[in-house]
Amino acid sequence: MEFLSYLINGISLGSVYAIIALGYTMVYGIAKMLNFAHGDVIMVGSYIVFIAVNQMGMPPLLAIIISMALCTLLGIVIERFAYKPLRSASSLAVLITAIGVSYLLQNLALLIWGADPKSFTSVVGLAPVQLAGGRLVISGETIVTIVVSAIIMAGLIFFVNNTKMGRAMLAVSEDKGAAQLMGINVNSTIAMTFAIGSALAAVAGVLLCSAYPTLQPTTGAMPGIKAFTAAVFGGIGSIPGAFVGGILLGVIEIMSKAYISTQLADAIVFAVLIIVLLVRPTGLLGKKISEKV
């Protein structure tokens, strides 16, 4: 029974990682860059929901929609001013810029909202499900997180494979130059990717903070790194890979906490990542692409 409970908690934590990892993997797959500011967009999204619900008294659903809209805008603005001018620069320059944007967002949040941790009110109104006479309790947040992340993954796969915009993304991810020759607007496609990634970040933020109700300027940092790990674990660039990687990472983390040591959980998670990368350098579901000369 305890095992089941740990498993469910692990899947729940993993689902949050999965949604964040989807944002990383999409941007990487299409723009070929690591957007380290992704974790901090999550934090901004959570603050927007917190302010809308707790200070302005909006209904949670409206707050989430506003947060998604503002995060989408933020994503596009970041892409336009920080990344687009560096489109032809070396990937290292873009990576450093992304880290810079990450610090910029964290410190802006520190200035605007202060360092005091806020207690996030869960937006999930579902009562916990009690099974086996109260020995197995599944919280509403857990159920919603798992369901939402599955829906988002399915939606993304559908979008990428079956819409014009999605297919344009696939084309850009394979070959920017050829895509442009085929009449695809590469810049707007990349901007669209950031927009979707950032909207997902807002959803991830709400779910993250509903499950673990604390909010401070560094809230997005550690989950961001873990989700990035999950994306690499599953094979960066692959949408199902990010999902599988996220879930596995969450389960491994909770299981090592439960059965090995609460203090060593992070070390174990990252050790698993190293082993996976040694055995499969492209990650669990990553495609092995042979470079053409």
């Binding site: 207690s119 909010l215 560094t218």
Partner: protein, 385 residues
């Protein structure tokens, strides 16, 4: 890594703000003409990030000095200097106070400056009583005494309190193994619990990098059948643990140390979940005893805010110096070294009934011995237990 770097950056920022804090204030002498009064120096942060502590100590001490002088008898003169929570500035402040003719030091307020000033006072044979610097090393020298409990002693005091009041026999602990304050209390608590017949049924840790998901720790506490969860941690993680306990339907009661002081001020928190949380804090402003109420009302009238634990520690500190002066026959015309010798002996002989504890007594080591006080959160406020 990112987080560590951001902390460094934040610290650098905080430091640069603190450094801009400006001129150190010399302030507050509420007393009779000098020469007939015993000169007490105070050092603490009146500006910068920790200013809230220094100002509370200054106000609490000034209030006590005023009361004592109004009673007649021994007279005190207080001179409180700013150290901006900076060890170097604290040393400058100490030298200024020596030039002024200080005979005993109330301070310093915060631990780091105190660790720098204490060896100097030992070399000068200057009596030191810190209201609130809680590290063990602060009182290493025999001229130094504390009003507050040392950090690890909060662990001992918690175990004693739980055992003596029969709060529980099966206890689960959740603590931060990457934090000296938390693990210090944890270790002492475990030792003391064993001698008091308390059973530790679950002992779970977390670390600074993994402190949002507490589902496993809470699950383990719950399945261990603990009646009480001991949380020697800060309030922001405690909030998460309490919410997780609520989610999992874990009904064990909660006991913590002064790190939990702050739970009720978290923005957006559902304070109804904190009902019944017990914490060891030496002072609760709404305690019903006469001494506390009179202190609180005078303080509010004078400074327009509710006194915190630091103000109470300082108030007790001044009365402790008074009691020791009376016991040791200290007069205003003695030099600082003679005062120190007299007070050192007197400190181990006096008993002070203060705001922060009845029957406070001191060991020669400088550690205070007082009955721990706990408060319980009821109807969204601290209530004395």
């Amino acid at each position: 890594m990112k987080k560590a770097m951001s902390l460094v950056l934040a610290a650098a920022m905080a430091f640069s703000f603190a450094a801009c804090g400006g001129a150190s204030g010399t302030s507050g002498a509420a007393s009779t003409a000098s020469g007939t009064a015993i000169k007490i120096g105070g050092i603490g942060p009146l500006t910068g990030g920790a200013a809230i502590y220094g100002n509370a100590v200054k106000n609490g001490a000034a209030l006590a000095v005023e009361e004592i002088n109004a009673q007649g008898g021994l007279q005190f003169e207080l001179n409180f200097q700013d150290d901006e929570n900076d060890p170097e500035k604290a040393l400058n402040a100490y030298n200024n106070l020596k030039d002024w003719g200080m005979q005993a030091l109330l301070g310093t307020v915060t631990t780091q400056p105190c660790l720098t000033v204490a060896p100097e006072t030992a070399a000068d044979n200057m009596f030191l009583l810190t209201p609130s610097a809680s590290a063990v090393d602060v009182i290493k020298e025999d001229n130094a005494f504390q009003v507050c409990f040392t950090d690890p002693n909060q662990g001992v005091a918690s175990a004693d309190y739980i055992a003596e009041n029969g709060l529980a026999t099966k206890i689960a602990i959740i603590y931060d193994s990457s934090d000296a304050y938390s693990s210090g209390i944890h270790d002492k608590f475990k030792e003391e619990a064993a001698t008091k017949g308390l059973e530790i049924v679950a002992d779970e840790a977390f670390t600074a990098d993994n402190k949002t998901d507490f589902s496993v720790q809470v699950q383990k506490a719950k399945s261990s059948g603990a009646e009480l969860v001991f949380l020697p941690i800060y309030y922001s993680e405690a909030n998460l643990i309490i919410q997780e306990m609520n989610k999992q339907g874990c009904t064990a009661s909660i006991f913590g140390c002064d790190g939990l002081d702050g739970l009720l001020t978290i923005e957006g928190a559902d304070t109804s979940l904190f009902e019944g949380v017990m914490l060891l804090t030496p002072f609760a402003a709404d305690a019903q005893d006469e001494k506390t109420q009179s202190f609180v009302s005078k303080y509010e009238e004078k400074y327009g805010e509710t006194p915190n634990q630091f103000a109470a520690d300082a108030y007790d500190g001044v009365y402790t110096i008074l009691a020791a002066c009376e016991k040791g026959g200290v007069t205003a015309d003695m030099d600082a070294s003679a005062v120190c010798d007299a007070l050192k002996t007197a400190m181990t002989q006096i008993t002070v009934d203060g705001l922060t504890g009845e029957g406070m007594k001191w060991e020669a080591t400088g550690e205070v011995n007082k009955a721990p006080r706990a408060v319980k959160i009821q109807n969204g406020a601290y209530t004395a237990m």
